[in-house]
Subunit: 384 residues, 2 copies
């Protein structure tokens, strides 16, 4: 009652417009209960993969955002100049993350960030689009051997979409080098790559005929070139398509496309190990909750490491693996020391032959051989 009286204002005469700002909404308790469930599925997955989380302010210096979003910059919310710094509400979580890395001179981090972002758009609210909405970002920053982190990101998307139980889904992957190579062999002039790229991007919402019209009539591409692009963009597939395009005499001659397709093939091989497959077929504060690092003492065991890691994730174990083909055992143990991971599952030729894993307690340095079938239970028992 007192609260409501406050709403009248001091004079109590002015008629009050009772609404939320355009493009925004309240969440009532029922909606909040659902949101909590969804977020808890997403966060559990991020934590199972050993991610840390960070938070950044809701606004940034205006100049931090300037020039990062091309045409969309007009959709940024600016704060009023009330004396002091010029500020804008964040438009996504990626630019603030980049600012965070640069400011703190961080080169390597696996982090997630779940927070609201702001876009002065005219969204179709009936279709669930708003001016204030959540993004759930997961990024791996750093330089690693090709495609290993990329495969983990896709594994994460796959796990979350499965657990949310939303029905069938399709994950689309791309490599900018394949697109650029394709434009080159189709005869798109260099200076038009960028603008043609944004037209191709519209295939989500527009039919090919309309996309072609825009290329020819608005962007000035010749009909021939557009038709050649049309052939490529109509293709769909996974590993098989990557292999088919590597046989394409024109495309495989293009350095960029060849590199992109080779990596794409590698990516799909890792996805198979991670079982991302077509379904129709201590004292110091720890910042992750990872229970075990999957390691090897010898070379050429990357595939076995990835396979075991995937088995652990599937069993609900929080596990990590270093993104390196042949990491030294010492550097794998150091990673555990630094981040507080309590256990290491070590694979070697002998262990593989015997069907066991050497389970090492990082703190005590004790090692025991555990049969593969008992590994999950043993890890659970030791990390209650």
């Amino acid at each position: 009652m007192q609260l409501k009286a406050q709403l009248g204002g001091d004079e109590g005469k002015h008629v009050f417009v009772l609404k939320t700002a355009k493009g925004t909404r309240d969440y009532n308790p029922k909606q909040m209960a659902i949101r909590e469930k969804v977020f808890s599925i997403i966060i559990s997955c991020f934590k199972r993969h050993g991610a840390e989380t960070i938070d950044t302010p809701v606004f940034e210096l205006k100049e931090t955002l300037t020039g990062k979003y091309g045409e969309d910059s007009k959709l940024i919310y600016d704060l009023k100049d009330q004396g002091g710094e010029l500020l804008s509400l964040r438009y996504d979580l990626t630019v603030p993350f980049a600012r965070y890395l640069a400011l703190n001179k961080i080169t390597n981090i696996k982090r997630y960030h779940i927070a609201k972002v702001y876009r002065r758009d005219n969204p179709a609210m009936t279709r669930g689009r708003y001016r204030e909405f959540y993004q759930c970002d997961f990024d791996i920053a750093g330089q690693y051997d090709a495609m290993i982190p990329d495969a983990e990101c896709l594994k994460i998307v796959y796990e979350i979409l499965n657990e949310l139980d939303l029905g069938d889904f399709r994950i689309k992957v791309n490599d900018r080098r394949i697109l650029d190579g394709m434009f080159a062999v189709c005869g798109v002039p260099d200076e038009k790559f960028r603008t043609i790229c944004s037209t191709v991007d519209k295939l989500d919402k527009m039919a090919w005929e309309d996309v072609k019209k825009e290329m020819v009539n608005e962007k000035g591409l010749s009909e021939d070139v557009a038709d050649r692009i049309g052939e490529y963009v109509s293709m769909q597939g996974g590993q098989d398509l990557a292999e088919r395009l590597l046989q394409d005499p024109k495309l495989s001659q293009n350095k960029q496309a060849f590199a992109g397709l080779t990596d794409m093939k590698l990516l799909f091989s890792y996805l198979e190990l991670f079982q991302v497959t077509d379904k129709t077929s201590s004292e110091k504060v720890r910042t992750t909750e990872t229970q075990v690092l999957v390691a090897s003492a010898q070379k050429n065991l990357l595939e076995e490491r990835l396979k075991l890691t995937s088995q652990l994730w599937n069993a609900g174990i929080k596990a990590e693996v270093l993104y390196k083909k042949n990491p030294k055992l010492l550097s794998q143990l150091q990673h555990c020391e630094e981040t507080g991971i309590p256990l290491v599952a070590i694979l070697g030729e002998q262990e593989l032959k015997d069907g066991v894993v050497k389970l090492r307690n990082v703190a005590s340095r004790e090692e025991v051989d555990v049969p593969r079938a008992d590994l999950v239970d043993e890890i659970k028992k030791r990390t209650l």
Copy 2:
């Protein structure tokens, strides 16, 4: 690397100011891990007490906030007028809550809301104060029998501060009617109540001598009157002080003060039942997690209900009790049906004599007598 390249801007020439906005900060993974722990203690407590949660947008129509914060309105962040509505960042969670209640015509709700608020202040960041900071609000809206919800709010503050393990603490309680009555009997003119009130408020930061100077020199109070106020505000105590002031011949003659002091005495009696004492001495989506409602079938069992509720909270059971001296059994059962509480612990004369509680399954309507000593385990077993 790509992320960082983005930070250079399109031209890559401009020298970049790398910082967060004034009065704001990032949270690194270690700080986030601590924040998560603290929030999880607070949220568990709110849920144990049967609260729902809501969320509101980070900005409101400017006019929703206008006139709600007195002098502090100058600290509100306004958004730039980019065409469309005039917006401001929320300054607290109370006014958006009041707007939510009015907009949705809600009169009764027990909700918590944990979110960031924004104040264009010049805070001492070295002392942990910021322009962007979290508030953890818990409010009970509605009209209930006197002091029962107030006692639960204090129980919650008490539980949280204990669990956070921050060391000794003191919770200060007030009743505006006592303050107003005290001003009246001291001889403060009616029209000066409000301004003298804000001076008294400074006793937190200023010595009495300086507060008195402000009253006399700036606010024009006579020295006599100020001295009389000084006597009252120097008093400290709990139940004992409420009783002592009820014996004060002048104060107890004042209607307002008498009502305030009587309620304050009642509040302290409930706090004793809740053990807030001086330590130096289903299918449908549920929006709360309450396991059991403590109910009675007969009159005059409020004290027994509160005592049992407190015992359950202390044992970690999520429990609720209706804020009514003599609620009907039917309305207590209806509350369970509406909010999905699965169990009711029913007290009656006979049960008290026998040392048992009648435990009722709301869905099946089955009732069994459970010995008091087994009640916690039985509730835990049934609400796994």
